[in-house]
């Protein structure tokens, strides 16, 4: 195989000729005559990037003309696609061709189709809107009888199928999957694989590696574990570098389960630690990280810091710094070491490290441990350490490190002797006027100075600082300076506001600013416009300017965290009610977090989630020492690890002894005889600061979202049956028939309201409370839902009590009245709509009113293009006994949106030997019969909103009584079955789906007798139909 690609570009021209001569073999060889061929040749002949660009632009222009010409054959189109792929590969965008790639996939024959699909998969990404055009083609091809087409469709589905359309193809794909149970065979397979892996071929090692990994992942079997361990030995001891690497990686996986393995291979590990290839070194550090314990932590961290100093790669720094910080927090042997290691972390990690690291460190310092004295020592040591670091002339520290320093100095300088605040303030002042300090850091420093001021009320430096920054061009700094000035004048307030060592206590603040209510009311009385939140103002401005605002929700739900961390006040919640109603004045006690950005940061790495942990603080009183990072820290290691150049001169055996010594420091505390069990590493250590892992938190949230989506696309009313049961009981309690009935308008409301999350109820409550409409939503609803049992209902109950299965169905689902469709002296046909979650169920009741048996009664539904009926549209009852009722059901699906459509049919029967009697009937189905609420969260709404291309906007005039938002929302929820997702100010967002799963979103804003409706959907006609329905219900209400 070594001669596979021997031909190089230098020989190109000659090779073209050769190929021309040798062409014609079975497999298509280089086709010189092709346009792609000539394009490649011309590009190869070029000498500069500029020329290439010119040529490609020409090529693209000619391609553009060709693909858009009406006469272009699909065969030529295929050609063009390959050339476009080539151009994109060289980095030139050819977006004009995307739509044609989709067309080719839709229309081409096999090879053309494949190239069309290929081009689509290379050009587009998962969220590209054009992909929606491909969905139908893919669905069609998945159902094709041609295996090759099915394969193509499967390939494209796995590559770039749009996420929200997955439900459309999932059943088709699941059909094609075959499940096999091999789990019980796993042991044997693994054993067999290990046994046969004697061959010395690379892929064997790859398989072995996977086997080892699996053996240590599945339920352990001692015999296999032993074999796997021997196997790892083969890797680690191999002279081949790739295998050694793999061995280290395997060791890393298994070392937590089997620390003895690390002991077995300790000498190899030591060798790898100094390997010239950085990736080997890196993998070794990864391994050491997994075996770290309280005894070897300082040596291992030292090794990691050494590696960090050589590395320039940002990702490596981020990852290693995170690990060091984690180890330091978990296993720090003493205060001094901890602070110094963290100093190194902050210096090296600087501004690239994860923000959790400084935040956790500060939290750890602030929250402290059980031992008050111990906490003080740690804080004092940190203060002293930072002061000496700031002493160094011209030393440049990363901004994050400066922020940590200023917080600690501001908070804990009081631990120093009296008279020192002035010194600390001077140092901070010097940082403040340093040109390289960023404005964010300046805000932190100002915070620290403010906290220190009560301890040095008459500080000259503070005076100078106020004077200087009162005229600063930076508004934030100017603000700080003025605050400082005012505080300085009111010593009592200052001491209350800035108590010493209270960083963990909650400060009670009135976050809703209720004390301004009077002022606001006065303003409103004098005709001032009510306050509008920023996002709303922006949106209005945009819509006035007739500019499409593409991200209305992006603005609305932007994080409420202020990034600079210099303001303590925040909007009380994500949902901002207009300010003329401060309904939540009672909501005080917002946590003052001292401008520490502890929340809202995501954790990115760490296998078990990164938890700030701390254990076994040795009660040493740290000595005061200037912190030259390396000196004390490295001392230990230096004794054992003499620099390489020195050691080369040493005798071989001495070198060995050296390694042995290092090994003994590294692997101390490992193995079964040791007191520290690695297996129990995470359990035995008591983690003082274990918080709920951010990672798992976000994961949960994601899961919940995923669940939401799931529910919304498949079964948004999944809990409706349970809810309905409750209602059933209610009814029975009232002596009712036990059947539930509701009008078309309100059928989903009760289940909606019942199943609504508390927050949403709260939301609605809030709204109704702050609106002027007197009756609460709930009262209103219950009146509408629970109609008194009508005569029809009871007779209906009698009729259907005959068919118990139907009764069950009816109990479980909301349904309409029983409507009589046709009637004569012998027969009566009635029907009832059952609005199931996933379809509309039509129940036909055929009653024999005569005293004779009916023979071969045929009920036949006429097929129409609007509906799809799952069952056979005809049904035959061989016999219907005298004065009895039979029922049949049809599951009806909608094929395309409409407003109202009739579904007609006829019934035919025979009484004894008389001629056939035929009766025609028809039922009217409305679009609303096929609309179900879609329960998604605001975030998903935002995503979907942006992904839908079809939108319809309309302003509807409403009468004054309707003009308030709760009323409009309630109407839409009741009558159109829209799900209310969120309410923000005078705007609401709602969602529904057209069965089975075509989503439609609605954004609604009420203002001054108008309701602005804005629909978006993946279906082009659905918004229009829904808009019509909205208008209708608004007129009716």
């Amino acid at each position: 195989m070594s001669d596979i690609v021997e031909k190089t570009l230098t020989a190109l021209p000659g090779l073209f000729l050769q190929h021309q001569a040798a062409g014609g073999s079975g497999v298509s060889r280089v086709s010189v005559s092709s346009r792609l061929g000539s394009l490649i040749r011309s590009i190869t002949a070029l000498t500069s990037k500029h020329e290439e660009e010119k040529l490609i632009q020409q090529e693209l222009a000619s391609l553009k003309a060709t693909v858009s010409a009406p006469g272009t054959t699909l065969r030529l189109m295929k050609e063009c696609m390959v050339r476009l792929i080539y151009c994109e590969m060289l980095g030139y965008e050819s977006s004009f061709g995307y739509i044609h790639a989709i067309k080719l996939a839709q229309q081409g024959n096999l090879l053309e189709k494949r190239v069309g699909y290929l081009a689509v998969s290379l050009f587009l990404h998962e969220n590209h809107e054009l992909l929606l055009l491909l969905v139908n083609t893919v669905v069609k091809d998945l159902q094709s009888t041609n295996l090759v087409e099915v394969c193509m469709a499967l390939t494209i589905v796995s590559q770039i199928f749009p996420r929200e359309m997955i439900p459309a193809v999932l059943p088709l794909i699941e059909d094609k999957l075959q499940h096999s149970k091999t789990s019980e065979l796993t042991y044997d397979v693994l054993d067999e694989s290990l046994r046969r892996a004697e061959l010395s071929h690379n892929i064997t090692y790859a398989i072995l590696f996977e086997c080892v990994h699996t053996i240590y992942t599945i339920y352990p079997k001692p015999e296999l574990l032993e074999k796997a361990a021997r196997c790892i030995g083969k890797f680690v001891l191999s002279p081949k570098i790739n295998l050694k690497y793999l061995g280290l990686k395997a060791l890393t996986y298994v070392i937590q389960q089997d620390p003895n393995l690390a002991l077995q291979h300790q000498m190899t590990i030591i060798e790898c630690l100094d390997h010239p290839d950085p990736i080997i070194k890196r993998e070794t550090l990864e391994l050491l990280y997994r075996i770290t314990n309280a005894q070897n932590v300082s040596v291992i961290v030292q090794k990691m810091l050494e590696y960090l100093q050589q590395s320039k790669e940002e990702y490596i720094i981020i990852s290693l710094v995170g690990k060091i910080a984690e180890l330091a927090e978990k296993y720090a042997p003493d205060n001094e070491w901890f602070i110094q290691t963290m100093n190194a972390v902050f210096s090296v990690g600087g501004d690239v490290m994860h923000p959790d690291i400084p935040n956790n460190f500060l939290r750890l310092l602030a929250e402290g441990f059980d031992d008050e004295n111990e906490d003080k020592q740690l804080r004092l040591y940190a203060v002293q350490s930072y002061l000496s670091l700031l002493e160094i002339e011209n030393a440049l520290y990363p901004q994050r490190f400066l922020q940590v320093m200023s917080w600690v100095l501001g908070e804990y300088s009081y631990l120093l002797d009296k008279g020192t605040p002035e010194i600390v303030i001077t140092k901070l002042y010097r940082l403040l006027v340093n040109k390289s300090t960023t404005s964010e850091t300046k805000a932190w420093i100002m915070g620290a100075v403010t906290k220190l001021m009560p301890q040095a009320p008459s500080s000259k430096t503070v005076e100078k600082l106020i004077q200087e920054f009162s005229v600063s061009l930076d508004t934030c700094m100017r603000q700080h300076a003025f605050e400082l000035k005012h505080l300085q004048e009111k010593v009592e307030l200052m001491k209350n506001l800035l108590p010493i060592d209270k960083s963990c206590e909650d400060l009670v603040v009135d976050a809703s600013l209720s004390f301004l209510d009077g002022f606001v009311a006065e303003g409103l009385d004098q005709g001032a416009a009510p306050y509008k939140p920023h996002h709303q103002r922006q949106e209005e401005k945009l819509s006035q300017g007739k500019v499409l605002n593409f991200e209305p929700y992006g603005l609305s739900f932007s994080s409420t965290m202020s990034s600079s961390g210099c303001t303590g006040r925040q909007s009380p919640a994500g949902i901002s009610l207009s300010s003329d109603v401060s309904g939540n004045s009672a909501e005080t006690g917002q946590k003052e977090i001292n401008s520490l950005k502890l929340e809202g940061v995501k954790k990115l790495w760490g296998k078990e989630g990164y938890l700030p942990k701390k254990e076994n603080k040795v009660g040493n009183i740290p000595e005061l020492q200037p912190v030259a990072q390396d000196s004390t820290l490295v001392e230990n290691v230096d004794q054992m690890m003499i620099k390489k150049d020195q050691s080369q001169a040493l005798h071989h055996s001495e070198e060995e002894a050296e390694k042995q010594r290092l090994a003994s420091t590294l692997f101390v505390g490992l193995g079964s005889e040791s007191a520290v069990s690695l297996l129990g590493k995470t359990d035995t250590v008591s983690h003082k600061f274990r918080r709920k892992s951010k990672v798992s938190d976000t994961k949960n949230r994601e899961l919940a979202i995923a669940h939401n989506i799931n529910c919304s696309s498949f079964n948004p009313l999944s809990n409706a049956p349970y809810e309905d049961d409750d209602h059933l009981n209610n009814f029975q309690g009232k002596g009712d028939t036990g059947l539930k009935k509701c009008s078309l308008g309100s059928e989903f409301l009760e289940s909606d309201l019942k199943s609504e999350s508390l927050t949403e109820l709260h939301l609605v409550e809030n709204l109704s409370a702050c609106s002027l409409s007197p009756p609460s939503l709930f009262e209103d609803n219950s009146m509408e839902i629970f109609h008194p049992a009508s005569p029809i209902l009871s007779s209906f109950a009698n009729e259907i009590s005959l068919t118990s299965s139907l009764l069950e169905e009816l109990n479980e689902h909301v349904h309409s009245d029983l409507v009589e469709l046709c009637n004569n002296e012998i027969l009566k046909v009635s029907s009832c709509k059952i609005w199931k979650d996933d379809c509309l169920l039509l129940v036909w009741l055929v009653a024999n009113k005569s005293s004779l048996e009916l023979k071969s009664t045929n009920l036949e539904i006429t097929p129409t293009e609007n509906f799809k009926i799952l069952e056979h549209p005809g049904f035959c009852f061989p016999i219907i006994e005298a004065e009895s009722t039979k029922s049949i059901q049809h599951h009806v699906h909608i094929e395309k949106p409409f407003t109202e459509e009739g579904l007609s049919g006829y019934i035919k029967c025979q009484v004894e030997e008389d001629p056939y009697i035929q009766l025609d009937f028809s039922v009217t189905l409305s679009l609303l019969d096929f609309i179900r609420p879609m329960k998604i969260c605001t975030e998903d709404f935002g995503k979907l909103w942006l992904s839908f291309a079809n939108d319809v906007k309309q302003n509807i005039k409403v009468s004054d009584s309707q003009a308030n938002l709760p009323f409009v929302l309630k109407t839409l929820q009741q009558k159109l079955r829209l799900h209310i997702i969120d309410i923000i100010g005078n705007e609401g967002i709602l969602a529904c789906r057209l069965l089975p799963s075509v989503p439609c979103l609605l954004h609604l804003r009420a203002h001054e007798g108008m309701v602005a409706l804005w629909f978006r959907s993946s279906c082009s006609s659905l918004p229009d139909y829904l808009l019509y329905q909205c208008q209708k219900v608004m007129e009716e209400s």
Binding site: M1, I4, V5, E6, L9, I40, L122, Y245, I279
Partner: protein, 144 residues
């Protein structure tokens, strides 16, 4: 998971690129240039795996052509290393003695072969006959 599959020659010219996670088109060329630079800086004695940003590169050199595969930490490096060779063997079988030129002039075919072997960033097929079967059918159809 495989993040991308590249064929780049020593001069830094991309012969084939397939991304399994979306990358902006202008970033692709930069990435490819950087990747090939990294690969060229390695010696024969060094490991065929390189840590690169937040993923790893697995590379193999065939004459002047480098095949570089970007993977994340869940992937088996050695398996990918052998997969590269497997891919080259499939190309060799299809083109009977494959050359860089074959790859250049039959970009679509090479992509189709790769798609049979890697789906969504996962290696799904290594059997040469099965990999080539669909393509041979397509060829036959095109001929007739």
């Amino acid at each position: 998971m495989i993040k991308f599959f590249l064929m780049v020659n020593k001069q830094g010219q991309t012969r084939l690129s397939r991304y399994y996670e979306h990358v902006e088109i202008n970033k692709r060329t930069l990435l490819e240039a950087d990747v090939i630079k990294t690969c060229l800086s390695r010696s024969k004695e060094q490991c065929s795996f390189i840590e690169y940003k937040d993923f790893k590169l697995i590379y193999r050199q065939y004459a002047a052509l480098f095949i570089v595969v970007g993977i994340n930490e869940t992937e088996n490096e050695m398996a990918v290393y052998e997969f590269i060779h497997n891919f080259v063997e499939v190309l060799d079988m299809y083109f009977s003695r494959v050359s860089e030129l074959d790859i250049m002039f039959n970009l679509d075919k090479v992509h189709i072969i790769l798609d049979e072997m890697v789906l969504n960033g996962c290696i799904v097929e290594t059997n040469k006959a099965r990999i080539l079967a669909p393509l041979l059918i397509l060829d036959k159809m095109a001929e007739s």
